[in-house]
Symmetry: C3
Subunit: 278 residues, 3 copies
Amino acid sequence: MPEPTADDVADALDALRAATPLVQSLTNVVSANFVTNVLLAAGASNAHIDNVHEAAGFAAVASGVLINLGTPDDATAAAFDLAADGASAAGTPWVLDPVGVGGLPWRTDLAAHLLTKHPTAVRGNASEIIALAGQGNSGRGVDSSSGSDAAVPAAIALLEFAQVVSASGSVDYIVGRGDSGPVGVRVGGGSPLLTKVTATGCSLAALVAAYLAIAPTPLIGITSAHAHVAVASDIAAENASGPGSFAVAYLDALAAVTPDDLRRRALVEPFSLSTGRA
Amino acid sequence: MPEPTADDVADALDALRAATPLVQSLTNVVSANFVTNVLLAAGASNAHIDNVHEAAGFAAVASGVLINLGTPDDATAAAFDLAADGASAAGTPWVLDPVGVGGLPWRTDLAAHLLTKHPTAVRGNASEIIALAGQGNSGRGVDSSSGSDAAVPAAIALLEFAQVVSASGSVDYIVGRGDSGPVGVRVGGGSPLLTKVTATGCSLAALVAAYLAIAPTPLIGITSAHAHVAVASDIAAENASGPGSFAVAYLDALAAVTPDDLRRRALVEPFSLSTGRA
Amino acid sequence: MPEPTADDVADALDALRAATPLVQSLTNVVSANFVTNVLLAAGASNAHIDNVHEAAGFAAVASGVLINLGTPDDATAAAFDLAADGASAAGTPWVLDPVGVGGLPWRTDLAAHLLTKHPTAVRGNASEIIALAGQGNSGRGVDSSSGSDAAVPAAIALLEFAQVVSASGSVDYIVGRGDSGPVGVRVGGGSPLLTKVTATGCSLAALVAAYLAIAPTPLIGITSAHAHVAVASDIAAENASGPGSFAVAYLDALAAVTPDDLRRRALVEPFSLSTGRA
């Protein structure tokens, strides 16, 4: 299995828009609106279904599921469990976004428990990925305090549970299971303004769920989501005057970006895993 | 009772801005912010009060109530019941928005139960209206998979419970109780970009609650909300570059649109109910 | 202790951006997204942590805490208690925003209870401040029906519990504890469009929490938050076409405004408390 290229990413965007996959999001109240708007703009669809009565059943019919730990409580935590089980039983790809894991003990346990249910993908910032792998600890909640390359060994360790793992940052590092051990893909570009608008990371994870539904492999799926976000954010930043206008332009750009734009602009390249412990 | 005209709609906008009705919203977490901003922009006001301690009491003092089934859980479902009872007891008009009904059994039962409490208005997309009337089933959650004219028989059937019912789509179909049987009004126009921004339907239903509070009849009220949205969205689309800039321009247009704009641009016309089963 | 000046406010903005304080928000679902984006734009950071398992512990490590009563339920109300206790025990400054207090009995009791835990600051609109002090009653929920100067006696009364209290309006009135009795600061300016976008008040209270974390005194902190908002909103209004574009421009302006802008434009002045009952 060779690492994904910009051509694979361009093809995946075509497939996304053709299929309009329906994501089921169980996400935090800060991000709920933006996550849905990002999915709609990019070419997917969303239903935020996080109650215990419907979470499992809907995970069986959704195209992909996002479980985001941003604002859990007892009720939604129970729904996370049901959705993960429902998705796994039905073969629906699902994404775990371990927001705030590390600094917050209760959700750290929740995330560790969900990890044992084998998400298709894990997407976090570097400190969350490191904490989820049990390799460090962060006290800053949703903020990342590590460079994302520092999370590569942790991401590789998490491949015991998930098929693909990504650590977002100024450069995004993605690892997946290859035929002869883990493989790595790096996605560059992406505007720093993404860090000045809340829920850009959460909505990236939601987009991973959408792409997993239509991509030929999980590694192409997660890489495509990261590349779509990076290119759209770079386009958006060209016309933005600050975080408010950037967020608006970002939604426009997610919708306007074409497969050819991704083919030309996506900075997708393999990277050596020699720094990893695999 | 003749069907509402563009003049009626223009007068209702005048009345809305003069009265600034206060809506009580019990709506989903995806839409909560946008619903409030739409109401403020249009000329109304909002308080999101969906806890069991305050839902009933506030429904007695609010100008109108929105009950939206987008992200129910046990706590908010209990509050829906209380708000519906409080509104009914006080004579406050209330709107049921049956988001996702059909494909999701638990909320389908919730909606059927709330329907027996006789909402003033029901507003949904076609597949939700069809499902609520027990005439079909949709597996796509909040997405509409039917043309809205297909929902007219279901909308007529729901007049057993509600005074007015609307099915949103590229054309909106609205039915109400006339002196000699059901009457129908169609509202055309409206930008397709409305489907690329989440909570435009939810906020339309909230605007129905606001208009019901000030309109001479429920049919004029619900028609005015649909026409206000359609004209504002058409104005917004003229300057939008995508879903992000459209959402911003839509809020501006909801505020800027004048009664004269509605008089000139609202596409409001009666339609024959011969396709219905009444 | 002299009243804060525009120079103090400018220095506080410098300190805010240097420190990037991390606010813990326990805020309503309507405002959750906007509150976070306002904090990010202004130069702070946010984690929305309102579950009972993590609320207290995080309040001990956060730079400041916001407790907002906009959409409480039993679960979040319990978390409010824990966060207030956690913040107080750790010496973390915390802000009480008594949204809707007065017209809604259940949350009015909640607010009265939280007040006894001695928030560092209380921020509300005039009718909420009056109601919280037990000096009046408002039936309009989150709307203010009083001029903010009418709340000065109530704000002074609340100094029994809080170190600083502000009442927002077309002019903002702020009171604090001086060496020889209460002192008052008035912050003018601020666009009327702030009232046409939801959560501008909630996000101001969040910004108070951020400024309390870095300002030399609570009075400088709360005054700086009000001044930052007033100047940024005035800048935003210059280019806005309505509430939608204003909200976008407001986030841009919160980020773009410099300490020198505040020094030149902030309308900060002492006012006589002779109208108060102190």
